[in-house]
């Protein structure tokens, strides 16, 4: 566990979306504890539909949790308009698709200055925009001021989005799949930028991704999410080289370079409106099918009892 005090944390967080027309409600986030230390980079990994984006939105104050608390700097988040506005200056969101998150009719300068104007920051706007662009690796910044998004490459666009976040001097960046839509050679450059921002400005980051290689590349800690819960978390070296949860091990085994025989889970990740009883992973769990759980005498518990996240893993076998 991290020794740094958390700057942003979730305690027993739940986000439940009501079902439409009598459909059962969906527990997208179903009891999550997660802490991000100051200057720490945490990777939140999981498959689509596991609730990782909803968790990120709840941490940003974009979704009010059904239960549980989001705390920033040790204080619970307050959901009043003014408090949220100040909060959203200090915790910034970077989205996946830079082409979609930039207004095509705004110049780079306008895109980056927009946050400053919304938050009514005084001072030298031009210098602040130039600083943010330079920090995001667009140098010399003046050369980019009057460019439009369509004149930039994908990597440059993502840097503009990051500059737009940096200009408000945030303490935390929450990035949702920041490199998923970028080319292979650009990917490393953007990841290196996130690392550099941490080193130079002390910006902490929660990176939401389905890419375990990204976690290996930049994160200090990794949290693996399955169907609304964190099933394993810990330092990257431990979780990714010596995974203990059968789900994490399955995810690692299907990577192209894995030495393990691939444990391809069948079917799609199950539905958050019908969470299975017992361990929520038991229906797809290779350790249960292989008889490993039965051998250890826990198979019955797997089917009936939800495992707690203890010492970084939520599995009856550990």
């Amino acid at each position: 566990m991290s020794t740094r005090p958390p700057v942003l944390s979730a305690d027993e967080l739940r986000v439940v979306f009501p079902g439409r027309r009598g459909a059962p409600s969906a527990s997208a986030v179903d009891g999550v504890d997660l802490a991000i230390g100051a200057g720490e980079i945490v990777a939140l990994v999981g498959e689509s539909g596991c609730g990782k984006s909803t968790l990120a939105r709840a941490l940003l104050g974009l979704v009010e949790p059904t239960a549980g608390v989001v705390s920033f700097d040790g204080r619970p988040l307050s959901y009043g308009t003014r408090a949220l506005k100040e909060y959203r200056r200090r915790v910034q969101l970077v989205l996946q698709d830079p082409s979609g998150s930039l207004n095509p009719r705004h110049t780079v300068y306008e895109a980056v200055a927009e946050g400053l104007r919304i938050h009514g920051r005084g001072g030298d706007e031009r210098a602040a925009v130039a600083d943010a662009l330079a920090q995001a690796g667009l140098r010399p910044p003046e050369r980019f001021f009057l460019r439009y998004p369509h004149e930039l490459s994908g990597g440059q666009r993502q840097r503009v989005v990051i500059a737009g976040a940096l200009v408000l001097r945030p303490e935390v960046i929450i990035a949702d799949e920041p490199v998923a839509s970028l080319d292979a050679s650009v990917r490393g450059e953007i990841l290196a930028l996130l690392l550099r921002l941490r080193e130079e400005l002390g910006v902490a980051a929660l990176v939401v991704t389905h890419d375990l290689g990204l976690a290996w590349n930049i994160a200090d800690r990794v949290a693996v999410m399955y169907l609304g819960r964190i099933v394993e978390s810990g330092p990257v070296e431990d979780v990714l080289t010596d995974a203990r949860h059968p789900y994490t091990r399955a995810l690692l085994s299907v990577l192209p370079e894995s030495a393990e025989p691939p444990a391809i889970l069948t079917g799609e990740p199950p539905d958050p409106s019908r969470i299975p009883p017992g361990c929520r992973f038991h229906i797809r769990c290779p350790s249960l099918t292989s008889g490993e759980a039965a051998g250890a005498g826990v198979a019955e518990r797997c089917r009936r009892e939800e495992p707690e996240l203890l010492r970084g893993v939520a599995c009856h076998l550990r």
Binding site: S185, L212, I218, V254
Partner: protein, 338 residues
């Protein structure tokens, strides 16, 4: 099997537009794919790989001008009559596009979409097409009853399975898969790749798979070709190109996706400075020169051609070539096996 290679591309050029505005997208590509083999084509946006894929079935817009040869079972696609071309599309070769979300008709049941090529190209009866659709769905791991579903009722992975079922409908000899697993989760990606591999080996079809992820290609394919700025800059056995690339660009692509557990890439993401090349204004000499960490003066002089990167072995299947001044053709003395 006949002696004729399933797919042979010879000196293919594709130019968009004319005159001043002409943009060369593919600049002299040679590829070979025997039946039952899997060739991976790697490269980034704008390198010409998708243009190449579309050119193989002459699916490019009218503004594209093509030259060279595309031999499918010995027959040149570029000089085919229209009627013959229509027959070759689907039955000879078919394409699985990326983003199954956008390639399927949202207001038509998937069964009808799979049956369409059967009705048109195979002149199948309605009942025959329905039976075959059920078979195809089961081949790609979906229950035949899903034929009645609309695309929005399926998950991303299931839609990609439907795309593969459609591609298989007319029993093609060649499947071209353009980023078939991009935007899919790792687990679903593994399922789809496994399915493609299994179908290719069962039905002895050739697979041309296109992606920017060298790791995925190396895991699936026998051989890899790396494209940059409209040219193949490296080509060889998949594991060799991925593990021991000889072209600096091949090395950069291989390093972009880290191997978990490799201490060298921990907290050290590796990218490539600079931007992908603009096909309308390529530099003189080697197109990769402006981004190349190993560029020397000679790189500006002339564009290097593919040369044997390893001592030439008796087996053609092991040949590994790269287009870089640093790749010195193996001296004659090494070529003869000792």
């Amino acid at each position: 099997m006949s002696d004729v290679t399933l797919l042979e591309v010879r000196d293919l050029h594709v130019v968009y537009g004319t005159g001043e505005a002409a943009v060369p997208a593919v600049r002299g590509v040679d590829l070979r794919l025997p039946a039952g083999r899997k060739l991976g084509l790697a490269g980034e946006s704008g390198c010409g790989k998708s243009t190449l894929a579309l050119a193989l079935l002459r699916l490019l817009p009218r503004t594209a001008r093509l030259s060279g040869q595309i031999l499918l079972d010995g027959e040149d696609v570029l000089t085919m009559r229209w009627g013959r071309l229509r027959a070759v599309r689907w039955a000879g070769a078919s394409i699985v596009f990326q983003g199954a979300m956008h390639s399927l008709n949202p207001v038509q049941r998937i069964g009808e979409q799979i049956a369409e090529p059967l009705l048109v190209h195979r002149r199948a009866s309605a009942a025959g097409a329905r039976a075959r659709t059920g078979e195809l769905l089961e081949q790609v791991g979906l229950p035949a009853s899903r034929a009645a579903a609309y695309p929005h009722e399926l998950s991303g992975g299931q839609r990609q399975r439907v795309m593969i079922a459609m591609a298989l409908a007319c029993g093609p000899r060649l499947i071209i898969a353009d980023e078939p697993t991009t935007a899919l989760d790792v687990m679903i990606q593994a399922q789809i790749l496994r399915l493609i591999e299994q179908l290719v080996s069962e039905q002895d079809i050739g697979l041309l798979m296109i992606s920017h992820d060298l790791a995925v290609l190396a895991d699936t394919c026998d051989r890899l070709a790396v494209m940059y700025a409209g040219r193949v800059v490296e080509e060889g056995p998949a594991q060799q190109v991925y593990g021991a690339a000889r072209h600096p660009y091949g090395r950069a692509l291989a390093a972009a996706f880290p191997r978990i557990g490799d201490a060298g890439s921990r907290r050290a993401p590796r990218g490539l400075p600079g931007d992908p090349p603009d096909p309308s204004s390529l530099p003189s000499g080697c197109a990769f020169r402006p981004r190349c960490p190993d560029a020397v003066e000679a790189c500006a002089a002339a564009e290097p051609v593919l040369a044997a990167a390893e001592p030439v072995l008796a087996e053609a299947a092991m040949e590994h070539r790269a287009a870089c001044v640093h790749v010195v053709p193996a001296p004659a003395s090494v070529r003869s096996p000792s």
